[in-house]
Structures are given as C-alpha cells and as structure tokens.
C-alpha cells in the first residue's frame, strides 16, 4: 500500500478534526480523549465537529445510498479543517480508500471526496508520518502485544507507526504474537451475521495472544478490540485489552475493555 505523504505546506499547528468514530463515541469515549490529548501534545488544534458515522456499515452491506448520504455529511462537517484524524484504521480507511470510489461517478462531489480522502489519517500514522512524533512522553508499566487491525494495515499502511510510538512509552515492553497481521474475525456486521465463524476466528487469535505471554493486547480499532476482549472475557482470560491510544496517553487508571469497573489492578496491564 503506498504511503500517503504529508502535505509540504504543513502548518505548524494544524487544525485537526477528531473523527472520533461511532464505536468510540458510544462505547469507549476515553479513547477519544486519549486521541485528543495525543494530537494536542503534538501541537494540533483539535476540534470535534458534530458527527455520527462514516457510513461504512451501510457501504459494506451494499447500501450505497445510505453510505453516500453519511459520507456527504462527514465531508461537510469537516470541510474547514486541515486534517481529519480517527483512532481507527478501519473508519479512516473507509474515508481514504472508499469515499473516492463512492463518488467516482458524481462530478459535483468527486473532487471534494478525493480532497477529503487525502487529508484523512489514522491516529498513530498521523502522529508519526505527519506530525513527526517519535516520543509520546508517557509511562505505562507492563508487557503488551500488538494486533494489526486489517484495514489499518492493508488500507492505511499502519504497522511501524504504532510500534514506534509504543517503543517510546516508559515502562512498556512490546512482544510480538505469531500472526499479528491475521484478522481477528470481527468484520463489522459479519461478527453477528456469521457469529459462529467469527467466533472460531477470534478463538485462533486469542490463542496466539495467550501464547505470546503478554498480559495485555493492544490494537488501533475498537471493533477488533471489542471482539478480542469479548472472547478473552468469555475464556476467563486475565489478559487486558486496550486501544493503543489509551496506552500512548498513559491512561492506566481506566479499566481495560470488558473488565469490571472496579478492578483497576488489571487496568495496569496485569502488573
């Protein structure tokens, strides 16, 4: 996948629209605050335009009309901003790779969709590739393994950037699991429509996570994280599951995904 290159006339303090994603908005707002903190620390002015969803569930279900409606609203809401950044490779990938496809035959919106796609980034790749961040100046005690979410990896080229940033976190040790680039079985509505298959795939994934020996697994997409956390929880695994942004922002007081509110010990990655 070709890497997107940063704009040559990068403002020193770019205005960044936080595209928080519907899952983070609804399920885990802390990830949104972690993303905002990381962007602000990197020198960005962060704005949060009113937003709902990028339209991916409709697009992937074959409902192009609904997807296009939601895409138009997104493009409008973020039009005044220098960049659009999402704590998700999947949602950012929807914009970057599929908005141009969605409006390819629409002469009025084609140009806007292409421009919008160009300025949309996944969080960790934006921090590293655009803002040049190499140290997030955070501390998080523990050992973690990192799962490469599919869309981030294959549509957005997100692989080295989160590892680079995690490498700068004091107290954190990163170990690789086997097949970190293999799908966790989430796949959006697939996880419910073909739940039995999805469940079998995520069981493979949690086996690899457990084999890695790391007491914490990180990823950059909440859908995958909920899937892995849900399976690990059902397996009574002590493995903590977190969005990579939480660790990069040093949010060790927040309980891991699917963990009870009270058990803040597990929140520190099993240390």
């Amino acid at each position: 996948m070709p890497q997107q290159t940063a704009s040559p006339k990068l403002p020193q303090h770019p205005r960044v629209g936080l595209f928080v994603t519907c899952l983070v908005d609804l399920m885990r707002p802390s990830v949104g605050f972690a993303a905002a903190k990381l962007l602000q620390d990197a020198g960005c002015h962060v704005e949060v335009p009113a937003q709902t969803c990028c339209g991916q569930p409709a697009f992937n279900s074959g409902d192009r009309a609904t997807a296009a409606d939601l895409a138009r609203a997104m493009i409008r809401a973020f039009s005044h901003l220098d960049y659009v950044v999402a704590p998700s490779g999947s949602c950012a990938g929807m914009v970057r790779r599929h908005y141009p496809e969605l409006f390819a035959d629409d002469p009025d919106l084609r140009g806007k969709a292409n421009a919008f796609a160009e300025k949309t980034w996944e969080l960790t790749s934006f921090l590293v590739d655009v803002m040049g961040v190499s140290d997030v100046n955070a501390r998080f005690e523990g050992v973690a393994t990192y799962h490469d979410s599919c869309a981030g990896l294959r549509e957005m080229g997100v692989q080295a950037q989160p590892r680079k940033l995690l490498g700068s976190v004091r107290g954190l040790k990163l170990v690789e699991m086997e097949g970190s680039d293999i799908c966790c079985g989430f796949g959006g509505t697939f996880a419910v429509k073909y739940g039995e298959i999805s469940n079998a795939i995520v069981a493979e994934k949690t086996a690899r996570i457990t084999e890695s020996g790391a007491p914490m697994v990180l990823a950059g997409d909440l859908g995958c994280l909920m899937n892995m956390a849900g399976k690990l929880s059902r397996q009574n695994s002590p493995t903590a599951v977190r969005h990579v942004a939480e660790v990069l922002a040093g949010m060790d007081e927040l309980p891991p995904i699917a963990a009870p509110a009270a058990s803040s010990a597990a929140g520190k990655g099993g240390v």
């Binding site: 605050f33 969803c53 496809e101 039995e196 298959i197 995520v202 493979e204």
Partner: protein, 489 residues
C-alpha cells in the same frame, strides 16, 4: 445442471465444518503451511511485485481482446491438427466430451486435475454414459474413491488426514496384502502410483485441464507436481483439453511471466515439478503422443462477466493463494462454500456462475480483511468485488429483511446528528446501567450471533460527544479559548 450446489446452506455447512474435529485439525496446519512458503518465495524474488503487475496487465490485455485471441488460438490449434469445440454451458461441454469418447470407442478415460471437470460434473456424466473415468492426480484420486468433491482448488484432498486416506486405500485396494505398512505418506503415494499405472496403460482417452492456453502457438499448458498429467495426455489415443476461455494468454513470453507468479503464489515453489506444453496431435515424426487433440472451451456464464466490474475476476489463474490466506476458509474449509470454487475467489466467481440467488451467502461471509487481495498474483480486488455482490443483493432485495430493517433504522438516526446524539447518549447510559458494573454482557438479545461464543463489552456510559461538549462548556465558563466547534446542531 452442474456440480451439486449446497451454497444456499452455507451457514449450516459452516456449522458442520466447525464441529468436525478431524477437519479442524487439518485446517489448523494451514496457518504454517502454504502462506509461510508463499511469503518466503515472494521475498526471495526482488521483482515479485513487479511480476504481479505484469501478470495483471497481461490478463487485462487478453480479456480486452478476448475475441481476437480466441480466433487466433482456434486457428493455431486447427493448423496443428487439433480441434477446438466451444461449449456455451456445462451440458454442452459434457456432451462434447462424451461424444468424442464415444466416437473413439473408449472405455477407460484417465483424467489430470481439472476444476472445469468439477464445475461441469463430468465424472458422473461419463459414468452414466458408460465410460470409466479415473482421476490420476493423487488428491483427485483419493476424493474419487470417497465420492467427494475437492475442498481446495490446488489441493483437492486438503480436508483429509493421512490416516483417512490409509483407510480408503485399504478399503479399495483389496488385491494388496492387508499387513502392508501405510503409515508414511510416501507409502500412500507409491501405492496410488502402482494402482494408477495400469489405468494409464489401459486408457483410451486422457482429459486434462489447462493452466494456460497460448494464442500465438495454439498450445495448452499444465503444471503438476506428480507428472500424472503427462501420462494422462501422452499415452491414450486422444487428449482432450478441458478449459474455460479466460485461460488464454497471447504469447509464450506472456505464459512464461504468468508461470513465474503461479507456483510461487500457490505452493511457494519457484516452479512446479512438471510444466508441460502440448501443441496439437502426434505428428508423423513424433515418437509418441495422442493421435487426436481436442480442446473444449467452456463459457458457462463467463462472457456475461465481460464488460462488468466482475471482468476482473476473469484474471484469476487458480493458484489458491486467496483461500490459503483467508481466515474464513481456514475456519470452515472448502466444502462449506457449497460449490466447485471455495474461498475468496469462489465467493466472487460462484455467484456469477450459479446466480447470486444461490451463491449470495458467499460474498457476505467475509470479514473484508483484505489478505486475499494482498497476495493475489493478478491483483484481483476480491473484497471490492464481494462488496459489489452485496450491492447487487441489496438492489434486488435479496439482503435478509433483518439486515435491511436494521440498516434502515440505523441510517435514520445516523442521518440526523442531533437525534443520533440523543439516542446514543441514552443508549450508552442504558447499556452501562444494564451491565451493572461488570463491564460486559454475557448475552444480548439483538446480538446473539456475537454473544453465543463471546461476551459483549459494555460501554463506559457516556458518549464522547456529550462529554467533550460538557468539557468545552466548562472551558468556556473558565474563559479559556474554545477549541471545539459544532456541538450545537
């Protein structure tokens, strides 16, 4: 009629496959098998990515001028003493093959591996017509003994363990001493070779598939690892090549390029053990070879894909890399897909050939992880084409009613940001309350597909947009510079 179709029962097929412990054990080996070998082969060849581009371009060019290359190919085959038969559908192809066999007074028909033969259900037809078809590829031979269909396009018996094959051989090869040792896979191979030798010598007609058909020379090309294809096509009186029309490439040079990506993508070999080029019937000066050479070119719905977005699927060279890298295939195996072609390539091709009414599950049963596209030697955008099938289903109201109404409800709110924020605010709070601090749900009525095998994480309780707006309000009261826009609708 074509091969038996159980694709509409994909969900049930998958359920059975997931319960099958033996199958699951075999599928588990895939994790470290084909995909690791392919990655090593690709890494060892610096120009591999450029070769994939070139392979894609060759196929695109051929498909754009398919009529011209078909004419050129037919003329060259005819000039070299062969015959080209065009078959519109499976029935016509079966009839043509049976007619050729009958005209030669054939009894035994040996067969090299051919997925087209599977697609048209040739073996059953030949048996009904009084011929004895014998599969000579080891995997095909095994599944013929078991009256099964291939579960993988390059490894037909992939779903079986060596122990199962040993049982079948002991059941069928009753002329051999029962105390013989078949514990090593190589002893199974040797026994199959022994059993097949007599058939090779007795065969009247040999049928093979084709990996490529070369227009400039009228040549058919097969790649095998066992050499069975060579014996199949050179020993009998006649050689019938059974191929679909998109196997064409313009030149020998083009074919050489395609071969460089084929084996590497399929098995990780630089090249298959045998690559055999056949041009026409035996000439007077040839020491051996078939007296007659026929090519049956199957359409069966393929020309209907030309000029549509599914034309890209006709680039496929049947390497199997997409299924080797597919998490869904690895979970359920090939038979669950319910027709000849499994995995991602099948999920695109099957609806085109048998109809999306029957094959509609397949393009939906994908996580869109994109690993298939990332390894495809001819760069077919498989997830995009699966999505195009989902669009066709949605347009034609084939999408299940629950999905449609769920999408409509969600779309209603997502189009109305203010309403959406109120609904999600209430929804997050209600769900968090219902989770009672446990952080998860063990069951949810609207997501039983999820909660049967997994817990569903509970939301934190407030939406990000509500919290951000509240904080911005505080910042404003404190006189700080507001850095938030757009909370108000």
């Amino acid at each position: 009629m074509t091969a038996t179709i159980t694709s509409p029962a994909f969900r049930e097929n998958a359920h059975q496959a997931l319960q099958d412990k033996q199958l699951q054990a075999v599928l588990g080996t895939m994790r470290t098998g084909f995909s690791v070998k392919r990655a090593e082969a690709a890494a060892a060849l610096p120009e591999f990515e450029a070769l994939r581009d070139s392979a894609r371009d060759i196929k695109n060019h051929t498909l754009a001028h398919l009529d011209l290359y078909l004419e050129q190919y037919e003329a060259k085959v005819t000039a070299s003493g062969g015959h080209v038969h065009f078959a519109r559908d499976a029935a016509e192809a079966r009839r043509i093959v049976a007619d050729i066999c009958r005209a030669l007074g054939a009894k035994t028909v040996t067969k090299g591996k051919s997925m087209i033969s599977e697609e048209i259900g040739l073996n059953d037809h030949l048996e009904r017509e009084g011929f004895t078809p014998i599969e000579t590829d080891l995997g095909e031979y095994i599944i013929q003994l078991r009256h099964e269909t291939p579960s993988h396009i390059i490894a037909p018996a992939f779903h079986l363990s060596a122990a199962q094959v040993e049982q079948d051989f002991r059941r069928v090869h009753t002329q051999l001493p029962p105390e013989r040792d078949l514990s090593e896979p190589v002893s199974l191979l040797n026994e199959a070779r022994q059993a097949l030798r007599q058939h090779f010598l007795a065969a009247d007609v040999g049928i093979t598939g084709a990996n490529f058909l070369i227009a400039e020379t009228g040549t058919s090309v097969i790649v095998t690892n066992e050499g069975n294809g060579d014996l199949t096509q050179t020993l009998p009186k006649a050689h019938i090549v059974l191929a679909s029309l998109e196997k064409l490439v313009p030149t020998l040079d083009d074919c050489a390029q395609m071969l460089r990506v084929l084996a590497r993508s399929a098995t990780g070999q630089d090249s298959s053990v045998y690559t055999t080029f056949s041009t026409g019937a035996r000439r007077a000066s040839d020491p051996d070879g078939p007296g007659a050479y026929h090519v049956v070119l199957l359409d069966n719905g393929r020309t209907g894909m030309l000029g549509t977005s599914f034309q890209e699927m006709l680039r496929c060279i049947r390497c199997g890399a997409c299924m080797n890298h597919c998490p869904v295939y690895q979970a359920v195996g090939g038979h669950a897909y319910g027709w000849t072609y499994p995995g991602p390539m099948g999920s695109v091709l099957t609806p085109a050939l048998i109809g999306v009414e029957k094959g509609g599950h397949l393009p939906n049963a994908s996580t869109f992880c994109g690993r298939c596209e990332s390894v495809c030697p001819v760069r077919i955008p498989l997830p995009k084409l699966m999505r195009h099938w989902r669009e066709k289903e949605f347009e034609r109201h084939l999408t299940p009613a629950t999905t449609r109404s769920g999408l409509a409800l969600w779309g209603f709110f997502a189009r109305r940001p203010w309403l959406y924020r109120q609904a999600t605010r209430l929804g997050a709070a209600a769900l968090a309350l219902a989770a009672r601090g446990k952080g998860k749900f063990a069951s949810l009525p609207f997501a039983s597909g999820w909660t049967q095998g997994r817990d569903f994480p509970a939301p934190e309780g407030r939406t990000f947009q509500a919290m951000w707006a509240a904080q911005a309000g505080k910042r404003r009261l404190a006189g700080a510079q507001p850095d938030v826009k757009g909370q108000a609708q």
